[in-house]
């Protein structure tokens, strides 16, 4: 026997011993593993539930904090007050930021889903493997390159000495200040969110039977009508999921408004961050956080009620 064969043999034997050991341990356990099947399910999901409970418990903690009294030295004192909630009504700066956040997010959501749809459609429907690979590459490079790196890339593209101004300069158009404009923020958000939208749309589009599209065409529908009356309605679960994910990610974004907004176009997240680390006003930050969560949940809830959970739910086979 060669050394390699012997080694392989030894490994196989070790694996069998290990497996036998495990089985004998299992058989000696005081519990009957076949009988506890149902309760075993709860044991399986327990770690996952425990992990998420950090956020659930934290939400409760935020509600509690929102009623505590802010103190500039102690951060907060354990004295209950409604002052933080009243402040929410009186802080016009926050109303401005909040309105901007929602407005931009709405624009970006519509734009992202509109741009992602044709992309997702081609990813699913193209019959050229190379083209599909190119599209997937364009999808995953940004997805796997974090938001900070991409915002930085846009700074180089849109900056005063950036690529775009260099290109404009060669045709004689003077430097344009893009950073700090709504355009820069929206472009940055679009590029950040399109991959998420495509990932939400593809399962829905993939589940549309392509024979239906062919049938529509055979019946005389042109490409637009096929899209309008066959593809679009059937892709609705994907559109629902994409809308939810894109809107919630957009309205909670911090880095793109911060870096591409030039410090003047901050979103709600930037406002919250400044309250946490600028003035250390934890109680008021907690109020703002609760409002953010409430808006996001309300949006999700309304869309779910109206259009169903789309492709978002963890699918469970019905038995």
């Amino acid at each position: 026997m060669s050394i390699r064969e012997e080694l392989h043999d030894g490994q196989a034997r070790a694996r069998w011993y290990l497996m036998d050991g495990l089985i004998s341990v299992k058989n000696r356990l005081p519990v009957d593993t076949t009988a506890l099947s149902d309760r075993f399910g709860y044991a399986l999901i327990a770690p996952g539930l425990l992990l998420v409970s950090f956020l659930a418990v934290g939400m409760g903690l935020l509600v509690w904090y929102s009623f505590l009294t802010y103190d500039s030295i102690e951060i907060f004192v354990y004295q209950y007050t409604l002052a933080n909630w009243e402040r929410l009504l009186n802080t016009t700066a926050f109303h401005t930021v909040f309105f901007r956040t929602l407005l931009y997010s709405a624009v970006v959501t519509v734009g992202t889903v509109a741009l992602a749809f044709p992309y997702a459609y081609l990813v699913v429907r193209t019959d050229r493997p190379i083209f599909r690979y190119v599209l997937l590459f364009g999808l995953f490079v940004p997805f796997f390159t974090g938001v900070i790196i991409r915002a930085y890339g846009w700074l180089i593209v849109l900056g005063k000495n950036g690529l775009l101004n260099w290109a404009l300069g060669t045709v004689g158009i003077g430097p344009v200040a893009f950073i700090g404009t709504p355009v820069a923020v929206i472009v940055g958000l679009l590029q950040y969110l399109i991959p998420f939208a495509v990932l939400m749309l593809t399962p829905a589009i993939a589940s549309i039977d392509s024979d239906l599209e062919r049938a529509a065409k055979n019946c005389g529908a042109n490409q637009w009508n096929t899209f309008r009356y066959v593809v679009l309605p059937l892709a609705r679960p994907g559109i629902t999921a994409a809308t939810i994910v894109v809107f919630t990610l957009s309205m909670a974004n911090y880095s793109i408004p911060d870096l591409l907004g030039g410090g003047t176009l901050g979103f709600a997240a930037n406002f919250v961050y400044n309250k946490i680390f600028g003035t250390l006003n934890y109680p008021f930050a907690a109020v703002l956080c609760i409002v953010l969560v409430a808006i996001a949940s309300l949006f999700v809830f309304v869309v779910f009620k109206r259009y169903g959970t789309g492709t978002l739910g963890v699918e469970v086979s019905e038995e």
Partner: protein, 269 residues
């Protein structure tokens, strides 16, 4: 041109042209970082006058980037390692067993998605602060697992859904023990979901920014936080060299993902 587009895109020439335009839009920021990082001037110039690798060479001597990079890798590894068993268990538990309030459990598990990241960061800052975990690197990893765990659960769940449970019955009727069935039948069938989920968790943790910004200290600072701090100062080509490490890792991850499970796999999770 239309001929070329037609050859690439099949029967959707205009759609194809549009998608290629979008491809350029999506890839532009990453590409520009790579190009700029190869310039040799102190400030960023277009087009780069001469190519050099000097910014990359200068990085290795600077602990301001090396330490956060190591931190990021440790955090992402920790996050991936604990997410794998939790994802597999949760997906199996939800799919195979009668769980009461199953719908409610699913909505509960979506909490990391519905809570905005800046809020999650604040929550974890308060909670970890109270427990005394701020300043521990593993706690950063735990935080990133908490906010990204739905990706892992979905990814494995899609494999569980596609798996035919009668294969397990077959194995057991052939005399396989429960553990053996799990090890040699169930687990291999779940592998594509586990691999794609693990890769997602690793990449998301490596890149995560806002939660890390909130809960890291100077000791536990991760690379995106360090880069953010540097960009606010200036946009030198040296930062482009640091940032391009991410672009290279992203491309490598795509190649690995394509080899291991196929990129299409990620579209089903």
């Amino acid at each position: 041109m239309t001929g070329l587009v037609r050859r690439v895109g099949g029967d959707h020439p205009y759609l194809t042209a549009f998608a290629l335009f979008e491809f350029a839009f999506l890839i532009l920021p990453s590409l520009i970082i790579l190009i700029v990082s190869l310039g040799s001037n102190q400030i960023i110039t277009f087009p780069p006058t001469e190519l050099s690798l000097k910014w990359y060479a200068s990085l290795l001597e600077q602990s301001q980037y090396v330490d956060p990079f190591v931190n990021s890798v440790v955090v992402a590894t920790f996050c991936t390692i604990i997410a794998i068993p939790i994802g597999v268990m949760t997906a199996l538990g939800l799919n195979r067993y009668d769980i009461r309030f199953e719908h409610g459990v699913q909505i509960y598990l979506l909490l990391p998605f519905t809570v905005p990241l800046v809020v999650s960061g604040f929550i974890l800052l308060i909670l970890f602060g109270r427990i005394g975990w701020i300043g521990d690197l593993w706690a950063v990893g735990l935080a990133l697992t908490i906010i990204n765990i739905p990706f892992m659960i979905w990814s494995v769940a899609s494999s569980v859904n596609a798996f035919d449970p009668t294969l397990e019955d077959a194995a057991q009727s052939l005399g396989a023990e429960e553990i053996q069935t799990f090890r040699y039948v169930t687990l291999p069938a779940l592998m594509p979901g586990v691999i794609s989920g693990a890769l997602l968790m690793f990449m998301l943790a490596l890149n995560e920014f806002i939660v890390s910004l909130i809960i890291t200290t100077t000791v536990t600072e991760t690379l995106p936080v360090a880069i953010y701090g540097a960009i606010r100062g200036n946009i030198s080509p040296q930062i482009a060299a640091v940032a391009s490490v991410y672009v290279v890792i992203a491309v490598a991850a795509i190649v690995v993902a394509d080899r291991l499970v196929g990129l299409e796999r990620f579209l089903h999770s």
